[in-house]
Amino acid sequence: MPFVPHTEEEINEMLSVIGIDSIDNLFDEIPAHLKIKGLEKVPAGLNEMSINRLMQQRAAKDGQPLCFIGAGSYDHHIPAAVWQITTRGEYYTAYTPYQAEASQGTLQLTYEFQSMMTALTGMDASNASLYDGATAMAEAVLMAVRSNRKSKSRKILVPRSVNPTYKHVTETIVKHQNIELVDVEIDSTTSKASMDALKAFSGEDITAVVISQPNFFGTLEDVDAITTWAHENNIVVIAVVNPLSLAILKPPGIWGDNGADIAVGDGQPLGAPMSSGGPYYGIMTCKKAFVRQMPGRIVGRTVDQEGREGFVLTLQAREQHIRRSKATSNICTNQGLVVTASTIHMSLLGPEGLKQTALSCHSNTQKLVEKLSAIDGVEIVFDQPRFHEAVIKINKSAADVLAKLAEQNILGGLDLSADYPEMKDCILVCATELRIAEDIEIFATALAAALK
């Protein structure tokens, strides 16, 4: 009986205290015909040594290809201290800090996290995390709808340069509430949200606009202009940002006239391994005026009866366990452990380390772009100021070429045609700080060969 400590003797004592003969008696209330005999698809239990062997084989099977895909999940270096500390039992096996006095570790850490998020984004407040970047965008849309009292339309402008999966997820989540996500065209030469397309909505009742910086193609948007335009039109500005990029890019809190109103993003680049897509966490920060519409846990600093600093969950009246059907969101369990990792990650890197990482990513990607564009049959599609992602177009089938690269254990980027039919044989590539010159060389050589 793995993980069940009871000895025969103890079981008997316990049964006699309850006053029954066998454990089965405890299930007497359950209709007998519902009880099952056994499980069919669950194999017999393994001991540790056997599960080790099995999982090691499984993990080894997938190789560890040289990764040039980004598209929302980035292969960054994570300092060794991060997960060694994060997986300490005290963080790993605690739960939501309902008993504040016995959870000051998690609570203070979360407060520090919130502080780091506001520092990075230039916003006033942060929550303690949402599930991921995509659901954070969805929650931001819901929050904008709740907050923008002047707007009735429930129309949200979403430029096509926003991560298409984020848009898809947002759609899944908000569609039941009569909210409409309106596509906004992008400029086909720059990949940026078309200012003209946006301006066509001037004067209309629009609830919010989403601005992605950098956008899905790595291109930097005209965030100042869009923000100012939006505010002039009573439109709430939702920024979708890569938090690592904020080590060097202008924070959404000071975009345009008055800054974005809500800034969201995925925390993965700050200490979460790619790990097949998760767990990551959703960042959610906002201006002061929006705080009471935020979804999710929020930690506040307060004092105890002796005036000592301490930390508690606060503004709980927003949440499902108090407000139930009228809560700001149904979220309960969030991504706490990844937030723990991320907070330690940011502490270890500091502003300078984060900046160096961001700059390395950027310069590696620029080197990659340079190398690849020198190959016959490769063309850089959007030659714009960018951050650490770029789009190349090749003169063969992107799918075929990517498959060929994969055979050589290289993930050569993301084929864009599924989401952008007009971008045939266009590939989104990315080189983080880990993809050093040697790696870029391998990729370039393999790509050149594949295009021969």
């Binding site: 405890l26 069919e40 669950v42 598209a71 016995a102 502080s115 307060t302 139930r324 500091g350 380390g353």
Partner: protein, 485 residues
């Protein structure tokens, strides 16, 4: 002391020193940041020391008994962590091609299959990232199902008053209005009320079974029939699956769609609040509506489900594939337990709860539902103590911390006054259960002799009782150089 207070301008760890890169010239200055963000500037040693020491201020399963009802704080086997963190798993990009993902996909496929088996459902999706998101997926599927049937006038989701807050909140997010169904004193749903409530407007009923009151809903088949008869669907909130794991299955009870909190029943760590997984199981007729992505097996190959497999999919719930790191841990746990181990979970979780309930009753505590067997958890109500001694469930909870026990869930479910919802889980040994009973008895004695003392508990934590009102009124959500609590 906050990490920011260890900071000194210019201090670095150099962990990430990648040779003095300069700000890029290829980005216009107007898009760049001109002040460095106010992150802490500390050495590795300072960071390690700070977060190591901070961790010691937490109660956790690895350090304390943590009988938080409805949360299933069972032991998290350490091997689940180390194997889920094998470099091969951590370094897999979510968009890696299937050919380079067979090892991972095989685990996910088998996890789906095992979950189907233990719940009696026809299909499982691992996409939802927590229980609440599982609920969302489930209710969205119910809605999509009705919609697909042209049945668009069903506007109501029924929820027992004992339900977890995420149930009604989810129904609202899915565009439904919520109607509460009352519960009988014996913990069962009031079937008469339910019968009254159902009708052509009923999209479905969300039910937890065993309920949050810690008892098994005996008339579940009747309830299922009532809902199905009016064309509604039955949703199973799987937070309490631990109670019946390996004994009975929601699918057999008539549920159409369920979520399972893998971070409860299948022992993935709670992580100070997450991440979790709210994997979702469906009956045959809901398969076309499952969220994406998912894994199928064709011959010996694992492939991603496509739109053809789920033509009416409610869509994607996350940027990629939910929380794979959590899913791997659940998979490993299930393989460790195996079929036999899984059956013992429900048995011993139930044994532990009933043993504690019996002991506490014998020591004078009042069980909320005294005449029935508990499921894997049970409720003590302290309403008498509140009235006669002026001590609240919260006072009991805080005092327990001093005695080295994490408090049970307090004030939930809402319908039992001054309640403690106690869930020991199967992984606790008898000696720990006995210790907790003695601790409650001690607090009771203290309540009788020195109630005031309890009002100010705890005394041995890093801080004593915190001012929550001040926290909400004088909002202090982020550090700034000037601020001080």
């Amino acid at each position: 002391m906050l990490i920011f207070e260890h900071s000194a301008s210019g201090r670095k760890t150099k962990i990430q020193s990648t040779s003095g890169n300069e700000m890029p010239t290829d980005i216009p200055a107007s898009l760049l940041r001109d002040e460095k963000p106010g992150l802490p500037e500390v050495s590795e040693m300072q960071a390690v020391r700070h977060y190591t020491s901070l961790s010691q201020k937490n109660f956790s399963i690895d350090t304390h008994f943590y009988p938080l009802g409805s949360c299933t704080m069972k032991h998290n086997p350490r091997v689940c962590n180390s194997l889920a963190m094998l470099p091969g798993f951590l370094s897999r990009h979510p968009l890696a091609p299937e050919k380079l993902s067979q090892g991972f996909m095989e685990c996910m496929y088998e996890l789906q299959e095992m979950l189907c088996d233990v719940t009696g459902m026809a299909g499982f999706s691992l996409a939802p990232m927590a229980g609440a998101q599982g609920e969302f997926a489930g209710i969205a599927m119910i809605r999509a199902y009705h919609d697909a049937n042209g049945d668009t006038e069903r506007k109501e989701i029924l929820v027992p008053d004992a339900a977890h807050g995420t149930n009604p909140a989810t129904a609202t997010m899915c565009g439904y209005t919520v109607k509460e169904i009352s519960t009988l004193a014996n913990g069962d749903v009031d079937i008469d009320v339910l019968k009254e409530a159902v009708g052509p407007q009923t999209a479905g009923l969300m039910l937890t079974n065993p309920s949050t009151l810690g008892v098994f809903e005996r008339r579940i088949e009747e309830i299922a029939k009532i809902i199905h008869d009016v064309g509604g669907l039955l949703y199973y909130d799987g937070a309490n699956l631990n109670a019946i794991l390996g004994k009975i299955r929601p699918g057999d009870m008539g549920f159409d769609v369920i979520h399972s909190n893998l971070h409860k029943t299948f022992s993935t760590p709670h992580g100070g609040g997450g991440p979790g997984s709210g994997a979702i199981g469906v009956a045959e007729r809901l398969k076309p509506f499952m969220p994406m992505p998912g894994v199928k097996k064709i011959g010996n190959e694992f492939q991603w489900l496509t739109e053809e497999d789920c033509p009416h999919s409610i869509g994607r719930m996350s940027a990629f594939f939910g929380n794979p790191g959590v899913l791997l841990r659940a998979y490993i746990y299930m393989r460790l337990l195996g079929a036999e181990g899984m059956q013992r979970v429900g048995e011993f979780a139930t044994l532990n709860a009933n043993y504690m309930m019996a002991q506490l009753k014998a020591r004078g505590f009042e069980a909320a539902i005294p005449d029935r067997y508990a499921s894997h958890e049970f409720i003590i109500t302290l309403k008498k103590q509140a009235k006669e001694l002026n001590v609240s469930a919260m006072d009991f909870a805080k005092r327990l911390l001093d005695l080295g026990y994490h408090a049970p869930t307090t004030y939930f479910p809402l319908l039992v006054p001054e309640c403690l919802l106690i869930e020991p889980t199967e992984s606790e040994a008898k000696e720990m259960l006995d210790g907790f009973v003695e601790a409650l008895v001690q607090v009771q004695q203290e309540a009788e002799t020195d109630a005031d003392m309890l009002h100010n508990a705890p005394y041995t934590m890093p801080v004593n009782r915190l001012d929550e009102v001040r926290a909400a009124k004088q909002l202090d959500l982020a550090w700034s150089a000037e601020s001080k609590a």
